[in-house]
Symmetry: C2
């Protein structure tokens, strides 16, 4: 429940693993992108694990809400590459404090959330133990005919950077109730031909950083546009944390909005029609900067939530 640590590095572990695993034919989707390729690339899949006390609070969140979130974070990974979720598996290590009825409610929460997006829960593994509950969902998703997955690596200097919604302060509740942008992602793909996408799980600055690293470029965010993208929850939270609302918008995890980059020539009317919020531009110069209306540039630290701290 604390999405702002320093870190020693999930990314580091992923890199070391990727180095170990490299060698065969390169995967269609690079190791570490939002989804991994299956069966030659038409099917992608993703897995995400939630832990009680870290990703949800078993005293505060109802079992169905926990199941729903476990499914929704995986659906958000599907959205991040504009894939269509097809089937899901659910593996659980349930705290033996849960009743059978609560266990079933958790599973139903996951199944019902999947069904909302046309995805079927088709199997899984149920376990219990005397430790906090862990829930792991895996989703297989397909890429619609005539399309390719939208990766993190396609952003180019001059591209515009957009968000699917306001960000920050999700810890106040939205991290459990957000709508995965599955349907909007495909609409964006069809209308805007985005060059890169990612969902915000680790924080706007950090997840945009993943795009910049994979695409080998930098970004300049406009401070006035960023201010318009601050969620009310970020302001509410800022009042109690004493931090700046903008800091929460840039660094809080689990917004699960998408960061989208589109070619510079994309008409603003097209992005407005989809409700997207412009926040800046991809630059050739590496690094992530905030640019004030007077042109003053401030570097943005890619802080945010990272596991394996």
């Amino acid at each position: 429940m604390n999405p702002t640590h320093p870190q020693r590095g999930e990314l580091t572990l992923i890199r070391r693993l990727a180095a170990h695993l490299a060698g065969g034919a390169g995967p269609v989707v690079p190791f570490g992108d939002d989804m991994a390729a299956l069966d030659g690339g038409r099917l992608l899949w993703t897995t995400d694990m939630l832990m009680a006390g870290v990703d949800f609070d078993p005293l505060q969140h109802a079992p169905e809400a926990v199941g729903r979130k476990a499914m929704a974070v995986n659906l958000s990974d599907c959205a991040a590459v504009a894939a269509t979720p097809r089937v899901a598996l659910l593996a659980v290590a349930l705290s033996n404090r849960l009743t059978m009825d609560e266990a079933e409610r958790l599973c139903r929460g996951a199944a019902d959330c999947a069904a909302e997006f046309g995805c079927r829960l088709v199997g899984g593994d149920t376990n219990s133990w005397d430790q906090p509950t862990v829930v792991c969902v895996t989703i297989a998703a397909s890429i619609d005919p005539g399309h390719a997955p939208v990766l993190r690596s396609g952003a180019r200097p001059g591209d515009r950077i957009l968000l699917t919604g306001r960000v920050g302060g999700s810890i106040l509740g939205r991290h459990m109730t957000f709508t995965p942008r599955v349907n909007l992602a495909r609409a964006i793909r069809d209308a805007l031909h985005p060059t890169a996408m990612i969902d915000i799980s680790d924080g706007l600055a950090r997840d945009l950083g993943h795009i910049l690293e994979a695409s080998r470029c930098g970004a300049a965010l406009r401070s006035d546009a960023l201010h318009a993208a601050i969620h009310d929850d970020a302001r509410t939270l800022a009042a109690s944390t004493g931090r700046d609302a903008l800091d929460h918008a840039l660094c809080d995890g689990e917004d699960f909005e998408l960061i989208v980059t589109v070619p510079g020539g994309t008409p603003e009317s097209a992005t407005l029609a989809l409700g997207l919020l412009p926040v800046g531009q991809i630059t050739e110069e590496p690094g992530l900067f905030m640019v004030a209306p007077d042109g003053f540039r401030t570097p943005i630290e890619p802080r945010g939530w990272e596991h394996f701290t």
Copy 2:
């Protein structure tokens, strides 16, 4: 580390879920079988979660052995339906007592075990927390052209029941080091056209019970044949538990040998050539019995390990 509890029921939960999920087109593979169908049935997938203190002992088992087991139990599910494992995902909630090096060794153990069977680890999710380690692997496997998955539901009265190896006492170490019968399963499929298969995770009696339930029939195990199928570890364990070695052979979990049923007319030379151990016969009469050489019949309780106790 204690595979012999009474239980309130993983099966019950699976049944309640299956009832909730039924409604659309029925899956190619029934919910609750060893693998679930993906993409019309040519691809199957499975997920299994291991928990520290339940499925392995972090003080006793090296990280690579833990990663290996997490992969191997899923490969065993592939073997159970004679599928060819293709790609795997690994999600972990690592105890923050693990060093980065140990975390990497765990992941390498999983990747290397997958590679032994031609399966590639292509992605995952890494997390850490202040609780015991949880490891969840998902594998997608393909059914070779011209074949169908070998399900639990095809056993018929008169079929012979065979094991791929001796059973019991795996807790003495084999539960961490077993060879998943991936390659043998396909050889069995090609040579014997089995009617049903399952891997022994919950115990011989219980897992045979799953076949009997899905196939709506019973089984008679020959006591002399069963005695020949008792693993030396079961005898060693019996000496310390005071239970009968046969009881360990029937009820201990995590042997990960396959139970195979083949048509009654299958020549014994063909089953011997694959090293299979005959243990009995499928019967029309429901229930599971042990039959002595003099014909005396004893009912066998389908006890064994079940999670969610």
